[in-house]
Symmetry: C2
């Protein structure tokens, strides 16, 4: 970076022989997060994850981040400080400077727009449009944790409000670790030319696979039992002794749940079972026949984009 | 542009030997505009002007724009279409593709974040920090129109609500032409190396000059009567015959009013009275003594950053 905060624009230098990547993502209170459920550090961390994950999905390297932040006057300064702390912690981890942005007053709640600028060697960006029939479909990490936790919170709030309409009972805040953008994996695949197409899982496997298929003009078959499902401890198994008692989330969360920030990619080659320390699972293949199919129990059923719907706070 | 909307990131090519410019700016309902005062085309146009004007202030060329747009469910689709129409009209005028962004649901009103990417030959960006004592201070165009019109609207609303508390009387919508970002002037100055420092006037002359002085570690003297004031027709002089009856806005609007999107720059050289068809006025000089002074009627008074405060809708 040449010049940062304090001028009309930031001035950035792109490495020679590279193209530039640009992505922008909103994080909006009561649409993408709730102040009573999500700690501010997690909101800040995930805000930047959304941008970095898009850079990862192109096989790119992040150069700088910009934050446009609108805050209503009744949001405590401490919330903003903790939000920035979470965001900057992730920025430091990947050596991405926060190079500018905008701050504004909001009339209600919090609206954060994160912009990440990255670079990739000319012509080497991994697009959504490169999948061909016969390519294998791979996914990194485990899926469904964020959406399963949210569902639990929503149900717990619902049942509590049924028991006691008089007073709103506080719901336990999410203690989930912030998701890690898969930058190393994206770069590893790009350097070796091993991915024919790639997308990050922000809206949910079924929705994001559908985007990839549309852009590539192909279809896909997914084997239900190979989808790597996150494991969550139940209330009874929170002690260290009972870690083995953690249960995989229901298939619907791994299939349709959002906010996982893992990578989904296609390849004609044999992919190692781990890249950069993260498990990689083969979950199906690209077909010439359009549409998506879910295989399981000897049957095939039509799979539709059933992406996680962002919740809106009730009442 | 190589790849646009439809992938995880947009891929852009920066001309060789150039650096990249990045700027982001929020336009928020009831903070930066009001739906009952500003026609949607003007809001869209001005949203992009905010970004392009920052590129102009560096002497840069715009390459692509990105729009993150959050809209509450009760905002009519027609408002959004007309907003985009205004934005795209300005984009077309300067040949800037809208290359991506994000759309989200908002819980209240409209929040638009515009991101503009530009380029400038390496090391040639005109910064805020280059002004030296003895440099002359110049400003393009005429100042104060946007803030004077807003003040009229606010006063007219106030007096109407005093007369009739029963029913809210509609206020005439702003018919103002969209401001033009001064891209040609910025590039003209950069190509000739004629500006030592530059900033765009978005917050108001006194505030933006203060920013420039701070970044350059200098002070400034402004001659009140040389500040080019916009002329507005009064209600009595709206007919074509009475154009000559237009009156200059009060000095306070030209001095402190925001949303003008003209350029303020400093130079050691003699600057033509018009650049790219737009009048350029010399309004003062940079001083070694810190702080800003306003000269007029044989006196000097201390000038403080009195930038226009964004209004917040009452009630």
């Amino acid at each position: 970076m040449v010049t940062g905060i304090g001028d009309d624009c930031a001035v950035l230098r792109i490495p020679s022989g590279h193209e530039m990547l640009v992505t922008t993502d909103f994080s909006i209170e009561n649409v993408h997060f709730r102040r009573d459920w999500h700690p501010p550090e997690l909101v800040g961390w995930r805000c930047l994850t959304r941008g970095l994950s898009d850079i990862a999905a192109m096989g790119g390297e992040p150069l700088a981040a910009f934050l446009s932040l609108a805050i209503a006057s009744d949001v405590p300064q401490q919330w903003v400080s903790r939000f920035l702390k979470g965001l900057l912690k992730l920025a430091k981890k990947f050596n991405v400077p926060l190079a500018g942005g905008d701050t504004a007053q909001s009339t209600e709640g919090i609206q954060a727009d994160i912009i990440v600028i990255g670079s990739v060697p000319k012509g080497k960006a991994i697009l959504r449009s490169g999948a061909k029939p016969g390519d294998q479909i791979y996914v990194t990490g485990k899926l469904g944790a964020a959406s399963a936790i949210l569902k639990n919170l929503q149900q717990s709030e619902l049942s509590k409000s049924k028991r006691s309409r008089a007073k709103r009972v506080p719901v336990p805040i999410i203690r989930q670790l912030g998701p890690l953008p898969r930058l190393e994996i994206g770069q590893w695949l790009r350097e070796r030319g091993m991915a024919s197409a790639m997308i990050d899982l922000s809206d949910g496997l079924s929705t994001d696979l559908d985007h990839l298929c549309e852009e590539s003009h192909v279809g896909a078959e997914i084997e239900a039992e190979t989808i790597p499902r996150a494991r969550l401890g139940s209330a009874k198994s929170r002690s260290a002794k009972n870690r083995s008692a953690k249960n995989p989330v229901a298939l619907e969360f791994a299939l349709h749940g959002g906010d996982d920030y893992e990578l989904l990619f296609t390849s004609t080659e044999v992919i190692p079972s781990k890249i950069a320390g993260v498990e990689v699972e083969r979950i199906g293949r690209i077909t010439k026949m359009l549409g998506m199919r879910l295989l399981g129990d000897g049957e095939a059923q039509r799979l539709k984009a059933g992406g996680w719907e962002h919740f809106t706070k009730q009442g």
